[in-house]
């Protein structure tokens, strides 16, 4: 690197999405398994779900996007636990139906994979510490590159490169752009704007036609956050039924912003 060349790479934005002391839902789950000395090959769904939820309450989420990952995991665990409430064979305490068992197996497998990654990370850390004791030369002492003539150069190479690029551009069709999944904040604003004109909204109408999973998750989190802020109320009259979203009456108490 020439010393006088300005740094063109200056992207170090040191933002981390750490929540509590855990680097994501797997990290938390693995931590719970470790502290309980649980064999990953037999995940006790009931215990682990309760502990996971308890931890979730203790964690302060400053980042809604990160919270999403934790909530998805929580939903998975609760779903598994709900399946245990009606075991196919009442004599067994932790028996899941086929689907539940498959889900549990996947969870276990992913936890095991994550545990391996953590182990490897620790190995790398030890390696790094060892290497930190060794010092190389701060700069090489080789003759600078510009004293070395480049070989086999011909302007036709440059010409050919530019031709190739132009041809590629002609061939390339316009890109189809996927609509961006909205952020939770954007979705919250949208909901509030819609509620200015309508008394109530259906959750399903907010999610959009394609029903992409990311959309549903973002919308649900936005709704939950608005409920928490006291800006809206929700009603669901039956299980898996439509969720109705209403403006919180007496809106003034939440501040009229």
């Amino acid at each position: 690197m020439t010393a006088d060349a300005p740094k063109i790479l200056d992207t170090s934005r040191d933002f981390t999405l750490r929540v509590g002391d855990f680097e994501g839902p797997f990290d938390l789950l693995l931590h719970l398994c470790r502290t309980n000395e649980i064999d990953l090959a037999r995940l006790p769904v009931r215990t682990i779900t309760d502990q996971y939820l308890a931890h979730l309450e203790a964690i302060e989420f400053r980042d809604l996007e990160a919270a999403g990952g934790y909530l998805v995991m929580a939903a998975t665990l609760i779903y598994l636990k709900s399946k245990l409430l009606v075991p196919p064979d009442p004599s067994e305490t932790e028996a899941l139906d086929e689907e539940g068992e498959a889900l549990r197996l996947e969870l276990e497998e992913r936890l095991r994979a994550y545990a391996r990654v953590k182990g490897l990370g620790a190995w790398l850390a030890a390696r790094e510490a060892e290497q930190a004791l060794l010092w190389g030369r701060p700069v090489g002492a080789l003759p600078p590159l510009e004293e070395v003539p480049l070989e086999d150069l011909s302007v036709h190479l440059v010409e050919r490169a530019v031709r190739r690029l132009i041809d590629e551009q002609l061939r390339r069709r316009p890109r189809e752009v996927e609509p961006n999944p909205p952020s939770i904040l954007e979705r919250m604003t949208e909901i509030l704007t819609l509620l200015r004109d309508a008394w109530s909204l259906l959750f399903s109408s907010l999610v959009g036609g394609e029903r992409r999973r990311s959309e549903v998750v973002v919308t649900l989190l936005a709704v939950l956050e608005l409920v928490r802020l006291g800006r809206i109320r929700t009603q669901q009259t039956e299980l898996f039924g439509e969720i109705v979203i209403e403006r919180q009456t007496g809106e003034t108490h939440a501040g009229s912003n």
């Binding site: 680097e23 992913r110 390696r127 010092w135 190389g136 030369r137």
Partner: protein
């Protein structure tokens, strides 16, 4: 003419990257790579029990200080402390090392969290690079480790990594993966745009 061993000493001293046996052979016009390795061994014994040593990393040889001299080197440069990698960075690096080339959605899926910021900082440190894009929806960037990675961790090659039992699985249809993929599709964005493509 200077002795080949002295020339080798100067070459190792001057080179800022590990010196492959083949390049030693070429520069010194030795009959073969074996002769190059022999010469390195001879130089090694010259440096036995001294302040410097010759290590094999990243497919070549490098001259470095002995580990026990670290305290004095720290004293010399006072402020210079090496930036250690964070735990998330090390874990992400482990995934890239074992599954390379690997895309961000895959890394995200294994870690269960968004790895964009971590990958970016690893790119910045030149520990990983982008060999291209994956032929998958959204054409996400692929990542692989660099030679600097081998050097930084004192590895001769990727075979020096510990064996893992079982595989690091990439969940096929995991929720996280799908979410990540969706994100990847909306253009590289600020992060994606700034990643160096290893040339």
């Amino acid at each position: 003419m200077p002795a080949p061993i002295d020339i080798l000493e100067a070459l190792l001293f001057a080179s800022d990257t590990p010196l492959e046996p083949e390049r030693i052979r070429e520069v010194l016009e030795l009959p073969g790579v074996a002769a190059a390795r022999e010469l390195v061994e001879a130089l090694r014994s010259r440096y036995a029990d001294r302040g410097l040593q010759i290590v094999e990393v990243g497919g070549g040889y490098r001259m470095v200080t002995r580990p026990e001299l670290q305290p004095w080197l720290v004293r010399l440069t006072r402020s210079r402390t090496k930036q250690r990698l964070s735990r998330p960075a090390l874990e992400t690096l482990a995934i890239v090392a074992y599954k390379q080339p690997v895309s961000r959605p895959e890394v995200d899926a294994i870690r269960g969290v968004n790895s964009e910021a971590v990958l970016e900082s690893l790119l910045e440190r030149r520990l990983i690079r982008i060999p291209g894009r994956k032929d998958a929806p959204g054409r996400p960037y692929l990542f692989e480790t660099t030679r600097e990675f081998l050097v930084a961790f004192g590895l001769r090659d990727l075979g020096d990594l510990p064996k893992v039992e079982g595989e690091l699985l990439v969940p096929e249809l995991a929720v996280v993966a799908e979410h990540g993929e969706a994100e990847a599709q909306q253009d590289p964005g600020p992060g994606g745009a700034d990643v160096p493509a290893g040339s």
